[in-house]
């Protein structure tokens, strides 16, 4: 075929046919940008949960959980949310690279920019209280997440090791009854060697209780601290919470 014929032949093929309309490409571009933005926002949300998890971690009593600070960090890092964050950063990168001018930017610049915006939106989402809502929702609605990926639940469910997270179901002058992360009720007794500052306790409070298991229903506490995070453990609606007379453990 002569070169002349190639152009003529192509022209015959496209004759009477029109190029794809401009809106077709505009929609494609918008979809790519939209998916990129969604990925960025979901990644930021994951980062907000990472902040939430880290801020509410048991830094104050890490020695009770692990004999080394490094080991404590390793066992309490929110790997699930870091994975989530990495996946959405990569998804945002992929979408950005597929925008019209995305190819001009090197990998590390796109990733750094993505992390920068994830940090900004992550802080914003955290400040707006979205992080705890997401974490609570995952714990309440996805039992698999709650069982497999919630390291704090695992740590504070070790009643035999003397670590218990629970919320108060009843409190009076004589006793405190709590429900632990697995739904078991315990009577909390104050140890003679109670070593923590006194804490006002009301029904519905979430607590970290350190001590030792006495029997299948009783736990002797030598320290009671407020539980940060893990709001999913508590009764969901604040208006369901009864205000009971306060009891100070001394």
């Amino acid at each position: 075929m002569s070169e002349q014929n190639i152009s003529e032949k192509v022209f015959e093929q496209i004759k009477e046919k029109k190029p794809k309309p401009r809106w077709h490409f505009l929609i494609k571009d918008y979809v790519i940008w939209f998916l990129g933005l969604i990925s960025l926002l979901l990644g930021s949300l994951a980062l907000a949960v990472v902040f939430y998890t880290l801020i509410n971690n048991d830094w104050d009593i890490y020695r009770e959980i692990s004999n080394s600070f490094l080991k404590f960090i390793i066992i309490t890092l929110p790997y699930f949310w870091f994975t989530f964050l990495a996946l959405f950063i990569l998804a945002a990168y992929y979408n950005f690279k597929n925008t019209k001018k995305g190819y001009k930017f090197p990998f590390y610049k796109v990733i750094l920019l993505n992390i920068f915006f994830s940090l900004i939106f992550g802080f914003l989402f955290y400040s707006l209280g979205l992080a705890h809502k997401v974490e609570d929702s995952f714990n309440r609605d996805f039992p698999l997440y709650n069982e497999m990926f919630n390291q704090r639940k695992r740590i504070w469910g070790q009643v035999d090791r003397g670590l218990m997270a629970a919320f108060v179901v009843a409190v009076d002058d004589k006793q405190i009854v709590v429900e632990d992360v697995d739904g078991h009720n315990w009577q909390i007794l104050k140890a003679d060697n109670f070593r923590c500052p006194p804490l006002p306790i009301v029904e519905g409070d979430a607590l970290r209780i350190l001590g030792k298991k006495i029997d299948s229903q009783s736990f002797e506490a030598d320290c009671i601290l407020p539980l940060r995070g893990m709001r999913w453990m508590r009764p969901p609606l604040p208006d369901e919470r009864k205000i009971m007379p306060m009891r100070i453990i001394r």
Binding site: M1, E3, I6, S7, V10, F11, I14, P19, K101
Partner: protein, 193 residues
């Protein structure tokens, strides 16, 4: 429209005219059919029919996607990009490995290679052409492509970046590695530097 006037129009103007009247696309095709055919032949081992099929597909895709042409790019970069993608697709379909590629090296190309690789100027050019062809045949595809862009097509880094859809830094790295591989192959031959 008089022929002479059309030939003086820029690619961009011809694209705009094509969107108004299809016949103008013929001028764009005529402008690019030879350079693109050379590019396809230099890069592939396709026989003339296969090469022309790639070119036809390139033109058809260019036409259908004219509304997607980003005016901040050179039209030549855009159409080479489409051709590059079409060539890769054709490779995947035929699963052939490019060998015995087409070589029509003019003296300017040979001069450019001699200067860039500090090759002894006394060497017989025909002999050198044969060596270059042999080396280009065994270079990795990605390296051969950037060398073809640099020495044969005279593309700069920006154009290569737009054609290959890679950052300019990556293009620079590719060229540097391509030259290194080319130089190693050249050393293995009896060419003096």
């Amino acid at each position: 429209m008089p022929e002479l006037k059309v030939e003086n129009l820029s690619d961009q103007e011809l694209v705009d005219l094509t969107l108004k009247s299809q016949e103008n696309f013929l001028y764009l095709m005529k402008r690019y059919q030879q350079p693109l055919l050379f590019y396809i032949k230099r890069l592939s081992n396709f026989d003339p029919d296969q090469a022309e099929d790639v070119l036809q597909e390139t033109f058809i895709k260019t036409y259908y996607n004219l509304n997607d042409f980003d005016k901040s790019l050179k039209f030549s970069s855009w159409i080479y990009r489409i051709c590059h993608n079409q060539l890769i697709d054709s490779y995947r379909k035929t699963k052939t490995r490019p060998q015995n590629i087409y070589s029509n090296y003019n003296d300017k190309v040979i001069e450019g290679i001699m200067v860039d690789f500090n090759i002894d100027r006394e060497i017989d050019k025909e002999y050198l052409k044969e060596k270059i062809t042999r080396i280009m045949n065994i270079l990795d595809f990605k390296y051969r492509e950037v060398l073809i862009f640099k020495f044969f097509e005279g593309k700069d880094y920006k154009e290569m970046s737009d054609i290959l859809k890679k950052p300019m830094g990556t293009v620079a790295t590719l060229i540097s590695r391509a030259k290194k591989q080319f130089r190693e192959k050249l050393k293995d031959s009896d060419i003096k530097f």
